[in-house]
């Protein structure tokens, strides 16, 4: 009887808890370096800002498109998309949301200091047709505009103008502006405290339009406290000892321990991110090699040898502890355009690799420097170490140059590399984003080859990418298919795997696992 009473009391207690404060303490290794929604297009920034800012089109839990600040959208003409906006939405500081804010946000994201240009690159201009209807006019027909617009966060024009923030913060020029530390979105949470590197606190925006949506109805989170902990061991210790409720990036080696720990659960799933090696196939002589007068990586046989020397299953099993999906292509199945038939790896075969090197004129191998980040992707440095050892066995003497992401990106962005490891995520969930950034010849066209630091250039590939940009339907699908075949045969990259992303949390916390590695606290629950 007593037990029953106790249970009843507990149940009531839990029921009453709905209205109580539910704080989730959350941690990951990195801290966002700005609160400006158009300045830095990196996961550590968006993981905080997407709690605060809404987009016209949002994503559902399967990353499909769902109504956001726009309730409906349509391609009314080939070069014109129309968006019907949600009525009665207010920014956190009280300004009413209108089409003018959309026009402003698009223009702001097109400024030179924006890092979000790739999402608005085809847009010529946008007009407010009615207070709550906006037309976006594109230079070319853009079938995937909604996928791109889904990444564009909407700001208030009057607020931005009042605080001198009509263009995105230029982090490269080391300027501080109001938006570095202040926000004013329409989203589910409001920024309350921002202490860089230490603590970021967000509180529930009770006026948010989405709380009545089915997916958010169950959510009871009233406060989010984010604290970055860069040391893996410390972050896990904090979770185990109950000081944080949710860790976005638990180290792989700790997963088994976490799974067996009481009160901790691990959810996992694939991420839309592929890890590969890219090579300098442009220079006539490599910057970091002992081969003089020619570039071995220009030889398909050498690229193939480096490829086939890698025992990817061993990396999958040991370095990644099973938390990866081995691949022969450069984006995962969630991305539009993926083809199972083209996702085939060259087999691991050291003898073949040695033979290919000998055939290409390097019977004794050669020296090369592998540039590798050491704090960007899951176990990035360890993967590189393993690859260096595997290459050593076929005679390629690679020197590993592992460094933190800031100097790493600075180095490869100067094309100052011979071979490097990169991980590529696809926020638009469409193949074009990957093809255009990574493989298109860098000819100055907006978005063309902006991450193609090996300067791969293939005329047919460029044609196909242009078809992807301008056409839709069957011709576009065929172009993607052919481009994937060229990728497989021409080996501009050595593909490795798609990342799996485990999330670790206390058992009483629930949050849907997302393939874009972004936690959406609007769907989370704390019991």
């Amino acid at each position: 009887m007593r037990k029953l009473l106790l249970a009843a009391a507990l149940a009531i207690g839990l029921g009453a808890g709905w209205a109580e404060a539910r704080t989730v303490r959350w941690s990951a290794s990195g801290d966002p370096n700005t609160m400006d929604p158009h300045s830095q297009n990196v996961g550590t920034v968006t993981m905080v800002l997407q709690q605060i800012y809404d987009t016209l089109i949002s994503r559902n839990q399967d990353l499909g498109l769902a109504p956001g600040l726009a309730t409906r959208w349509e391609q009314v003409e080939p070069n014109r998309w129309r968006f019907w906006l949600r009525d009665g939405v207010k920014f956190h500081e009280g300004q009413a949301f209108t089409g003018d804010d959309v026009v402003f946000s698009i223009t702001r994201a097109q400024q030179p200091t924006s890092n979000y240009a790739i999402y608005v690159d085809t847009i010529e201009r946008s007009v407010q047709v009615e207070p709550l209807v906006v037309d976006v006019i594109t230079r070319v027909p853009d079938p995937i505009l909604p996928n791109k617009i889904a990444s564009l966060m909407i700001m208030s024009r009057s607020w931005s103008e009042a605080h001198n923030a009509t263009r995105p913060q230029n982090t490269r020029a080391r300027e501080e502006m109001y938006t570095t530390r202040n926000t004013n979105g329409t989203g589910a949470f409001r920024l309350q405290t921002r202490e860089p590197d230490v603590r970021t606190v967000m509180v529930r925006n009770t006026d948010w339009w989405g709380w009545s949506e089915p997916a958010s109805r169950e959510s009871n989170i009233t406060e989010i406290i984010y604290r970055p902990i860069s040391s893996d061991a410390t972050r896990i210790a904090a979770l185990l000892s109950g000081e944080v409720d949710f860790v976005l990036d638990p180290p792989l080696q700790d997963l088994n321990r976490l799974r067996s720990a009481p009160n901790i659960k691990v959810t996992e799933g694939p991420e839309v991110r592929t890890i590969f090696l890219a090579m300098d196939v442009h220079r006539d002589e490599l910057l970091y090699s002992d081969v003089r007068g020619r570039n071995p990586l220009k030889d398909l046989r050498v690229r193939q040898a480096l490829y086939q020397a890698i025992d990817i299953q061993a990396i999958h099993r040991t370095t990644m502890r099973g938390q990866s999906v081995v691949t022969g292509t450069f984006f995962p199945p969630q991305v539009n355009g993926y083809s199972r038939e083209e996702d085939v790896r060259l087999p691991y075969d050291q003898a073949r690799a040695r033979a290919l090197l000998a055939e290409a004129g390097y019977p004794n191998g050669f020296e090369i420097t592998l540039d590798c980040p050491n704090n960007r992707y899951i176990n990035d440095e360890q993967i590189c170490q393993a690859i260096v050892a595997m290459w050593a066995r076929v005679g390629v003497r690679a020197r590993l140059n592992a460094m933190p992401l800031a100097p790493f990106f600075a180095k490869i962005q100067r094309d100052d590399t011979s071979i490097y490891l990169l991980g590529w995520g696809v926020p638009t969930l469409d193949a074009l984003y990957s093809f255009q950034s990574l493989l298109r010849t860098r000819d100055g066209g907006q978005g063309n080859g902006i991450w193609n630091y090996g300067r791969y250039s293939n005329a047919r590939m460029d044609q196909l990418i242009d078809i992807m940009t301008n056409q839709s339907g069957a011709p576009r699908d065929a172009a993607i298919r052919e481009a994937l075949r060229i990728y497989r045969e021409d080996i501009p990259h050595i593909p490795l795997h798609h990342q799996m992303i485990p999330w670790a949390m206390r058992s009483n916390f629930t949050i849907p696992h997302m393939a874009n590695n972004q936690p959406y606290f609007r769907w989370a629950r704390m019991n």
Binding site: L240, Q253, R257, A386, A392, M403
Partner: protein, 304 residues
């Protein structure tokens, strides 16, 4: 030579050594560490630098006495399939090399400057001692971090990696010299006014010669004590720098580097990757410190 050996074994020092079991034990431990480190290329079971010999499928093997362990890898393997025992031996080699070189560098610099200051006196003395004062108040680890940081920023990465070992040696050595200079200066001041030195001066022996042949032998004892205690500190400084990721280059991992890397696996059950290098580091530093402690007491007649 034989006479010298006999004299040593008949000396007070040897007597006090044999009377202290802790000292004997630490001498044995120190000797084992040093031999293991110096002879690593010949006696280590594997060569952790031979990349072609690494096999990823041998990674994360626990120590041999564990059920899943392999006899081939006595202390287990790390995340790349590297033998932990061999890595420790090679790592100790780097730690010892840095520690010894830094200490020798600091000794030579400190002794020369201390002799100069003590013997010359006057302005030279006050300037040198003022520098000492200033530097002694800056903790060595900060000086070392600073030197390393500046060199790192000035030199391109590739060049830096090649000379990183020397940078660390220099950084640690330069932060430790004032202790030697202080000690030597004090002793020199005492010796300078003794009659035999005055006499040598009068008959026109050059200053440099007086300093090195008459004064120096009398300060060897205290210098030896400071050097021994300093060796332990230098090894620790190197480990700390490497732990912070600014020490020796990753291609030449020291014990500190091994601990830093292993630290990631501490909570995941693969404790041997970090604990064994940690134990090796502590054993090495502790034994050296115990020896230094004993040496100080043994050479200080007041404490007997």
């Amino acid at each position: 030579m034989a006479a010298a050996v006999n004299r040593f074994f008949g000396s007070d020092l040897w007597w006090s050594f044999t009377r202290s079991p802790v000292t004997v034990a630490s001498a044995v431990v120190a000797l084992v560490c040093i031999l293991g480190a110096v002879l690593a290329p010949w006696i280590a079971p594997h060569n952790p630098f031979d990349l072609a010999s690494l096999n990823l499928s041998d990674a994360f093997k626990p120590p041999a006495w564990d059920e899943e362990g392999a006899a081939e890898y006595f202390l287990g393997t790390d995340d790349q399939g590297r033998d932990v025992l061999s890595a420790i031996m090679y790592g100790a080699r780097v730690s010892l090399l840095v520690g010894l070189s830094a200490t020798i560098f600091a000794t030579v610099l400190g002794v020369s400057l201390g002799l100069t200051a003590g013997y010359a006196g006057g302005h030279v003395d006050s300037v040198l001692m003022r520098i000492c004062d200033i530097q002694l108040t800056f903790p060595s680890i900060l000086v070392a971090l600073l030197v390393d940081g500046v060199v790192r920023a000035v030199l391109p990465r590739e060049v830096h990696d090649q000379i990183a070992l020397f940078v660390v040696i220099f950084a640690i050595g330069i932060s430790e010299w004032p202790k030697f200079a202080r000690t030597v200066r004090g002793s020199t001041l005492v010796e300078r006014n003794k009659e035999y030195v005055q006499a040598a001066r009068v008959i026109g022996v050059p200053s440099v010669r007086i300093m090195f042949s008459h004064v120096l032998p009398n300060v060897v004892g205290p210098v030896l004590v400071v050097a021994t205690l300093n060796l332990g500190l230098a090894i620790l400084s190197e480990a700390t720098l490497s732990f912070l990721g600014v020490g020796v280059p990753p291609t030449q991992p020291s014990l500190g580097t091994l601990i830093r890397i292993g630290n990631d696996f501490l909570f995941s059950g693969e404790w041997w990757i970090t604990i064994f290098p940690g134990v090796a580091l502590i054993a090495m530093v502790l034994s050296v410190n115990l020896l230094g402690d004993w040496l100080r007491d043994a050479l200080n007649p007041k404490l007997r």
